[in-house]
């Protein structure tokens, strides 16, 4: 029952709260979880403003490079190819989606920590919170590596945050998202440090759940950015 309640994150019964040492709340729900959902809601509006700014400025740059089209003389002094690299970004999108899978497996492993260890090799791997937290963090770092590569290649091709409207809105939007991924990786590394120091158990599931919700939110924001910025011409 302990892990089952942690799985849903629902702490709506006072007896249940008492059993886990949580003080009763007026809503019957965990305050930290309400706070993270309220935070995620506010983040929706932040990214909505950044995405709408990008879309409003889309196609209004007077100098190249452009996202999907080549820039040829006389508009550009030298010919510039379309700057977005879809294969690279598709790979980074796949990496971020897989990090979300690793994150749910990490949360499930923490929630089931006090259950008897299963016999199969794969089942034992599924129950390793350290493995899946490492996996999530490493996939997050890989995504940031892709983004660093993309930003660097853009600068080498002549696109900076000051070049044109596309550069300003693109770097602001994707840079904000990258900063969120960085914060998520740091959060995951903090959880890993706790796991190595004293071990994460079902009583910590709520804290891992908060990190997981944040991480999945960063993932869904990228789902929107990938379509709106990279794929729609």
């Amino acid at each position: 029952m302990a892990h089952a309640s942690a799985l849903t994150g629902d702490h709506s019964h006072s007896a249940h709260d008492d059993a886990h040492g949580h003080p009763p709340t007026s809503t019957g729900l965990d305050n930290k979880k309400i706070a993270i959902w309220a935070f995620i809601g506010s983040e929706c509006m932040l990214f909505a403003s950044l995405i709408s700014t990008y879309l409003i400025y889309k196609g209004r740059s007077v100098v190249g490079p452009y996202p999907h089209d080549a820039c040829l003389p006389p508009q550009c002094s030298t010919p510039l190819k379309a700057i977005l690299n879809i294969p690279i970004t598709s790979a980074s999108t796949f990496v971020l989606l897989m990090s979300s899978l690793a994150m749910v497996l990490a949360l499930a492993a923490v929630e089931l920590k006090d259950q008897p260890m299963p016999s199969g090799w794969w089942s034992r791997r599924l129950r390793s919170s350290k493995l899946w937290l490492w996996m999530t963090a490493l996939l997050g770092i890989t995504f940031l590596g892709f983004q660093a590569f993309e930003f660097t290649s853009f600068v080498h091709e002549g696109l900076t945050i000051r070049t044109n409207l596309f550069g300003s809105s693109f770097f602001t939007l994707t840079g904000f998202h990258g900063a969120h991924v960085t914060a998520g990786v740091l959060w995951l590394l903090t959880l890993l440090a706790i796991d190595y120091r004293r071990g994460l158990g079902p009583k910590d599931a709520i804290n891992v759940d908060l990190a997981a919700l944040y991480w999945h939110f960063v993932d869904v924001v990228w789902i929107a950015i990938f379509t709106l910025v990279y794929l729609i011409k």
Binding site: M1, H3, A4, S5, L7, T8, G9, D10, S12, H13, H16, T27, L29, I34, W37, I40, G41, C44, M45, F47, A48, S49, I51, S52, L55, I56, K58, G59, R60, S90, T93, F94, L97, M98, S100, L101, M103, V104, A108, L112, Q115, P118, S119, G120, W122, S123, L126, A212, L213, H216, F217, D219, V220, I223, A224, F226, T227, L231, I232, K233
Partner: protein
């Protein structure tokens, strides 16, 4: 994907102590969701490279629908919002609706659609 079903998170968890009954995704559900997300992403990228489809009117709506499906899938299954308390659902969906209205409103306000179509608003 060989793993013991007896050790999976419960498909139907009876929270009798809480006076409620919840479903919860199993590990196999998590893997299936990952496969679905990967396939949709592959289709999105694939249609990007079909010039005739990119030129058609179905291109942008198709991408938006696939993106929305991916978004909803992650929110419902990975963020557990499908199984969670309605207050959490309200805390997420209300700002999301405001955000979508804000995006569409700003695009109209700044003539995004007239800029695209060449028509006067």
């Amino acid at each position: 994907m060989a793993h013991d079903t007896q050790h999976e998170p419960h498909a139907n968890v009876d929270h009798t102590a809480m006076g409620i009954t919840h479903e919860h995704p199993t590990w196999s559900t998590y893997w299936k969701v990952a496969v679905v997300l990967t396939l949709i992403t592959a289709v999105e990228v694939w249609i990007y490279y079909i010039p005739s489809f990119v030129a058609s009117r179905a291109f942008v709506p198709s991408l938006l629908i696939m993106s929305a499906v991916k978004f909803a899938t992650v929110v419902m299954f990975y963020m557990h919002l499908r199984y969670d308390h309605k207050l959490f659902r309200a805390l997420f969906t209300a700002p999301l609706i405001i955000a979508i209205i804000t995006i569409v409103g700003l695009l109209f306000l700044f003539g995004y659609f007239s800029h695209r179509t060449g028509a006067l608003l």
